[in-house]
């Protein structure tokens, strides 16, 4: 550490009587400072000790020079000593500032290296739940149809034969009932059954409301079929109905096409194939270009380029007879989609049972 030997003595004692000798003494001190500053700047503790030795108020070198060299200096030398001392202070200040910054930066760097967290480790995770794929699909469908003015209504799953069949122009012993094997409820007063489609709400809504009617009906439906990979005895539908004085087949086509583009993507095209449902006429099966291959043909669409979306059509005037609507003034369209099928198609789910096993490994994916 600093050898204080010469600054403990007065200049006179050191034999310095001329300005030149004063300068030379200061030069020695300065050289010593530079040497020590270089030697002590790599370690924070050493550096702090070094600073105290030189700039400490009580017995630092600068204080000692002031006390031992400046104060007792002869009037002739006082000016030279003062000047040299100021220069030395300025020099020390400059060097200290510079070294100090470097030392602090190094210390910070070292600390940062020590504290660096492992970004690949997980944070504290809060478990968040999820919506079922079917519900998400419903939400999407309701948004799509809500945007073009379709209101949402719901109806009972345990229905009367009248609403499920008769009022939809499906009398008893109609062959169309072949595709709708039905579960019946024991001991129900009205021969109640589990609705085979969401269409009964067409009737219930028109009974209650005057046109314009524009509704979608989400809900569970049931058919007494033995379940397999592609069919269950319960599935989800969304029914649509629009009736007014000015609804035409073109509106029907436009709505269906809007839906397909909104649900399957803007490049989707639709086509209608004539079909038959007792409660619509003309009736159609709605096909969309395959969402996987875009219509060029692939395994999903069985090389046809088309996938069947749902059945639909213009409301059969016979249905208006059941709800006291004037068939000569009113017209409309209706559709019924299988939501499970749409969801499976869109997300590539391969088997119906997966939807309702409710395995968390499945639920987590959506």
């Amino acid at each position: 550490m600093t050898d204080n030997h010469n600054v403990d003595q007065t200049l006179a004692a050191l034999g310095a009587t001329t300005a030149e000798q004063v300068v030379s003494n200061f030069a020695q001190v300065r050289a010593r400072f530079d040497a020590e500053a270089g030697a002590n700047s790599s370690d924070v503790a050493q550096w702090n000790a070094f600073l105290v030795a030189w700039t400490g108020r009580k017995s630092g070198v600068l204080t000692k020079i002031t006390d031992n060299w400046l104060k007792p200096a002869t009037p002739e030398l006082k000016r030279a000593v003062g000047q040299e001392l100021n220069q030395l202070k300025a020099h020390i200040d400059g060097v200290v500032k510079e070294k100090q910054a470097a030392i602090e930066a190094a210390a910070e760097q070292a600390a940062a290296a020590r504290d660096q967290i492992d970004l690949s480790l997980p944070g504290i995770e809060h478990t968040i739940g999820s919506r079922h794929l079917i519900r998400q699909t419903y939400d999407e469908l309701l948004r799509i149809f809500g945007a073009i003015g379709f209101s949402v209504v719901e109806g009972p799953e345990i229905e009367t034969p009248y609403y499920n069949f008769e009022a939809l122009n499906i009398p008893e012993h109609h062959p169309a009932r072949d595709n709708m094997d039905t579960f019946y409820i024991e001991g129900a007063r009205n021969g109640d059954l589990l609705r085979t489609h969401t269409s009964p709400m067409q009737i219930r809504t028109m009974e209650k409301e005057k046109p314009p009617v524009r509704i979608v009906v989400p809900g569970k439906v049931y058919r007494r079929d033995n379940p397999d990979a592609t069919h269950g005895y319960m599935f989800h539908q969304i029914e649509g109905l629009a009736v007014d004085t000015d609804i035409t087949f073109c509106d029907f086509k436009g709505t269906v096409d809007y839906f397909a583009r909104a649900f399957l993507g803007p490049k989707t095209k639709t086509r209608l194939r004539p079909s038959y449902f007792p409660f619509t006429e003309p009736s159609a099966e709605v096909d969309a270009t395959c969402h996987v291959c875009g219509g060029s043909g692939c395994r999903v669409c069985k090389q046809t380029g088309w996938i069947e979306l749902f059945g639909a059509g213009m409301v059969n005037p016979a249905v208006y007879g059941f709800v006291n609507y004037d068939p000569e003034r009113l017209s409309g369209f209706a559709f019924g989609m299988g939501v499970d099928r749409l969801a499976m198609m869109k997300y590539g789910v391969t088997e119906v049972p997966l939807l309702f096993q409710n395995d968390v490994r499945f639920l987590r994916q959506f």
Binding site: S151, Y184, Y233, C250, T255
Partner: protein
């Protein structure tokens, strides 16, 4: 219905490849599911809709093809070499049940040689998946698939008294049908009988005793028209579905009966020889007068929204046999808006009786693709379901709390359902279930929730939190009632061990905390001990919503549901080896609570002065509840009392037997000024005194 392409070409001149015809048929309404190569050439597999019995024969499909390709249908002219003897002199037919049988024709062919069919006939039948039997029977089948009308051939020598009568069966009457089964009939069924007994079930299947065999010499050929509903009812009741019943129940063409008979007689004579007796016995009580239908352009425009040119309308309707004729005043003028066409109602299309039916015919052949796309103008705002916003808020919460939504099939096992059924509930039982374990509409959401938890546990998923928004079902006085419920279920770890946190089991406190987070958006839940028998008695609760400000009639708590841990004996019975927690809440009162609470929300000014907390470590007798403690403090009426929380609870150690230690944290908040020590000490002294006096609490030195 399988269509032999080459047979189709006998009715209509087309050169197009089968695949092209198939695709055009599909776009015109006869869905072709596939095209298959056979020894008889390409065969099209047509999925014929229930309204088109005419397409259950090659002729009907050919008519569609003719309309598509704008060709005319080649007529079929059966040529018979008839003998001098007449059919009328050989047999007679009486229809006693003319509501069940609208027409019955009989022809007699004598001296046939029954033998295997010639190759062409056998091939045609095999191509469409039919087995060849013998030449006479094969002809009746061939003509059925050709013309779409079912026929039946009897061994004439086995017909007693050489006459037939069409009547209702006698109750319990028996007949052995062609398939060898003995059938017992009821009195609403239609039979074809001879002088002695039933020899056939009308429109469904002939009897075995009068069957054509290799020994048959003389044939009586039946070609009739049976009532669709009667055939369908009988066929369902007997569980006997045949190609014949399939056609009759969809509405066969009564006019076709005699023609199909003539065509079959021609072919029988061709492949089995014999002489056809002159004429036909034809009893036709259901003969209809010819009717007409009108199609107007105005109606077409009103329904379709875009026009179809006159020429196309007329071509399409003509090709389909409707004979359109303009009858409006401007019939010379092409494209007139007032154009009206009168069309013939045709016997083979019982589904075409109204203007709209003709519009459909025109539209499907003109091409659905030619109508432009439009969106209808929305005239009224779209409504969401009632309470949809409140339900969204509840579901957001539940998901934020970590529960995953499930969707369950609500048809469940009866025994299982009974476990979780509330007292006095009559379940909605399915009268014709597919399986025993799916035979009742669930009486609770819980039964499904337990199933889902069980499934996950059985598939190695041990830490599960689930919820379902669904319905429970019941009958009340024979009327179905469907109630929407929110069901929560959880088991396993609430917190898995991580580098940051220790593991913790899902406990009742998790369920309570989560439910209270849901309850707080519905105005807050009230908890009461006790619950249904399927919950563990010490971990069971009823939850209700306090209804405060809604008017006197609603000032009682509204019961919402139950929550707790599944009872041990039920968990054991269901082989659930982990603690399982469930809550089932009725959705309607909950959503009402959310709506009320949301409507009642008002801003409260933020306090300007600091709140102060004071902790009290109490030693209390077992059985004293936290509620007892907070009520005691609240009753002091300290206006500055802000909240009371339970901060720590333990038993044992220095706490004597029969007592427990509870640390409560009381927060004071003033809107007037900063508290002075004297004030706070005053509060504390009153609180301690009240707790000592009312609950025998002692303050623990801390």
């Amino acid at each position: 219905m399988k269509i032999v392409y080459n047979e189709l070409r006998e009715f209509v001149d087309i050169a197009a490849p089968a695949a092209e015809v198939a695709s055009k048929l599909s776009l015109a309404g006869v869905a072709i599911e596939g095209v298959e190569e056979t020894a008889a050439g390409p065969v099209l597999d047509a999925e014929v809709t229930a309204n088109r019995p005419d397409c259950l024969g090659h002729l009907g499909i050919a008519r569609e093809v003719a309309a598509i390709y704008k060709k005319s249908l080649k007529p079929l002219h059966p040529k018979l070499k008839e003998s001098a003897e007449t059919a009328v002199s050989a047999t007679r037919v009486d229809i006693e049940a003319n509501d069940l049988c609208g027409r019955f024709t009989a022809r007699v062919i004598k001296g046939v040689k029954v033998q295997p069919s010639p190759d062409w006939l056998r091939q045609r039948l095999e191509a469409i998946g039919e087995k060849s039997i013998n030449n006479v029977v094969d002809v009746t089948n061939y003509v059925m698939f050709e013309l779409g009308h079912a026929l039946h051939a009897f061994d004439f020598d086995k017909i007693a008294e050489k006459r037939l009568v069409v009547r209702r069966a006698k109750q319990g009457e028996k007949i052995k049908t062609l398939d060898g089964a003995e059938r017992t009939l009821t009195k609403d069924m239609c039979v074809v009988a001879d002088g002695a007994r039933a020899v056939g079930i009308g429109g469904i299947m002939g009897g075995a005793e009068s069957e054509i065999g290799f020994g048959t010499k003389n044939v009586l050929l039946e070609c009739a028209w049976f009532d669709p509903i009667s055939v369908r009812r009988t066929s369902k009741a007997l569980g006997l579905r045949t190609e014949a019943s399939y056609r009759f129940e969809r509405g066969a063409d009564p006019e076709m009966a005699e023609f199909a008979s003539r065509r079959a007689a021609e072919l029988i004579q061709q492949v089995a020889g014999g002489e056809v007796l002159a004429g036909v016995v034809d009893v036709y009580p259901a003969r209809h007068a010819e009717k007409s239908i009108e199609l107007s352009r105005q109606e077409l425009l009103r329904v379709m929204g875009a026009d179809v040119p006159d020429r196309d309308i007329e071509d399409i309707l003509s090709a389909l046999g409707f004979h359109p004729v303009r009858i409006d005043d401007l019939r010379g003028s092409n494209g007139s808006i007032t154009a009206v066409w009168q069309c013939k109602q045709v016997s083979w299309r019982s589904d075409v009786t109204r203007g709209i039916d003709l519009i459909e015919e025109v539209a499907r052949h003109y091409g659905y693709d030619k109508f432009p796309l439009r969106l209808p103008a929305a005239k009224v705002p779209a409504r969401r379901l009632p309470h949809a916003v409140a339900l969204d808020r509840v579901i957001e919460r539940v998901i934020a709390l970590g529960y995953r939504e499930i969707v369950e099939i609500p048809i469940v096992d009866t025994e299982r359902d009974a476990i979780f059924r509330a007292e006095g509930v009559t379940p909605a039982v399915i009268g014709n279930p597919l399986a025993e374990d799916a035979s009742v509409m669930r009486s609770s959401g819980t039964v499904s929730m337990i199933r889902a938890l069980e499934w996950n546990l059985n598939h190695g998923q041990r830490d599960v939190r689930l919820f379902e928004v669904g319905k429970r079902y019941e009958l009340r006085d024979g009327e179905p009632v469907e109630t929407r419920v929110l069901t929560l279920g959880a088991t396993g770890l609430a917190q898995e061990k991580t580098i940051h946190e220790a593991a913790s089991e899902y406990a009742f406190a998790n369920l309570k905390g989560d439910l209270d987070r849901i309850g707080e958006i519905a105005g807050g839940f009230e908890w009461m001990g006790g619950g249904p028998s399927w919950l563990a008695p010490s971990r069971a609760a009823r939850v209700s919503i306090e209804r405060g400000t809604d008017g006197p009639e609603l000032q009682h708590a509204h019961h919402v549901g139950v929550a707790g841990q599944l009872a041990r004996k039920i968990a054991e019975q269901l082989k659930l080896r982990q603690n399982v927690f469930v809550a089932e809440l009725a959705l309607e009162p909950l959503l009402k609570g959310v709506e009320d609470a949301s409507a009642a929300k008002r801003f409260a000014p933020l306090p300007r002065y600091p709140a102060v907390e004071r902790d009290f470590s109490l030693v209390l007798d077992d059985g004293t509840s936290f509620d007892d403690v907070s009520e005691t403090i609240e009753q002091l009426g300290i206006l500055e009392l802000h909240s009371i929380e339970a901060a720590d609870l333990f038993r044992g150690g220095q706490v004597p037997q029969g007592k427990f230690s509870l640390m409560i944290r009381v927060t004071f908040q003033s809107s007037q000024a900063t508290f002075t020590d004297a004030q706070l000490n005053g509060f504390s002294a009153r609180i301690v005194a009240a707790l000592e006096k009312n609950l025998g609490a002692t303050l623990r030195a801390s």
